[in-house]
């Protein structure tokens, strides 16, 4: 049987993920799906609306994640911290050789029909850095803040 705190934590966690996904899908409902042949020139309205929707989704998700975390007991919190730290490091470790392989054109080498080129390389590097660097910088920022508050 699940205890009330864990049930509440799961409910808030579900609200965080479900609500955030729903908010992120709003621009698709309002503007319709992106036409693949027009993907090189997406209308600024869609860019702004989608970015705003994602910001709102992240805020929603963050708020409900905080509520969920408050109902999780210390044992499960420790598990979450352990998994985020070591799982995150493992993820970065796994992604690094993949980054090198894909960035250098590995998919094209395996399948010559796959596109290759400098533009693609730049887009891939930018995408990878956008995913990794904010996590690493925020980790360092929170760690420094934590140490300062514990002095």
């Amino acid at each position: 049987m699940i205890d009330p705190n864990t049930r509440r934590a799961w409910a808030y966690g579900g609200a965080a993920v479900g609500g955030a996904l729903a908010i992120m899908l709003l621009p698709l409902l309002i503007l319709g799906p992106v036409q693949p042949h027009r993907i090189v020139a997406i209308h600024p309205t869609r860019i702004v609306l989608t970015t705003v929707a994602v910001i709102l989704a992240v805020a929603w998700g963050g708020w409900f994640t905080r509520l969920s975390y408050r109902h999780v007991d210390e044992f499960l919190r420790e598990g979450s911290k352990f998994a985020w730290f070591w799982g995150g490091l493992l993820g970065i470790g796994v992604s690094t050789p993949l980054f090198a392989f894909i960035g250098l054109g590995g998919p094209h080498w395996l399948d010559p029909t796959q596109p290759v080129g400098l533009g693609l390389f730049h887009a891939f590097v930018l995408g990878y850095c956008v995913a990794i660097f904010p996590q690493v910088l925020c980790f360092l920022g929170v760690y420094v803040w934590w140490k300062r508050t514990k002095r």
């Binding site: 205890d3 705190n5 007991d73 210390e74 044992f75 499960l76 420790e78």
Partner: protein
């Protein structure tokens, strides 16, 4: 770290869920502490000691 949580719980005929409810933690927490896979924080150790009305050092036994 070893502990006598399982014995103390059994003496009172409480299930893990009963103890978890009294301590306001999950049943997984109680199980992990009992089998020695997780050492509780000091605040939780004090709550456990208060609940069983025993000093902490008689419930949690130092391995050293």
């Amino acid at each position: 770290m070893k502990n006598r949580l399982k014995v103390l719980r059994a003496e009172r005929d409480w299930s893990q869920a009963d103890l978890a409810q009294r301590l306001d933690v999950s049943r997984q927490s109680v199980n992990a502490i009992e089998v020695g896979k997780y050492d509780p924080s000091l605040p939780l150790a004090f709550r456990i000691a208060r609940l069983f009305e025993q000093p902490i050092e008689t419930i949690f036994l130092d391995d050293a």
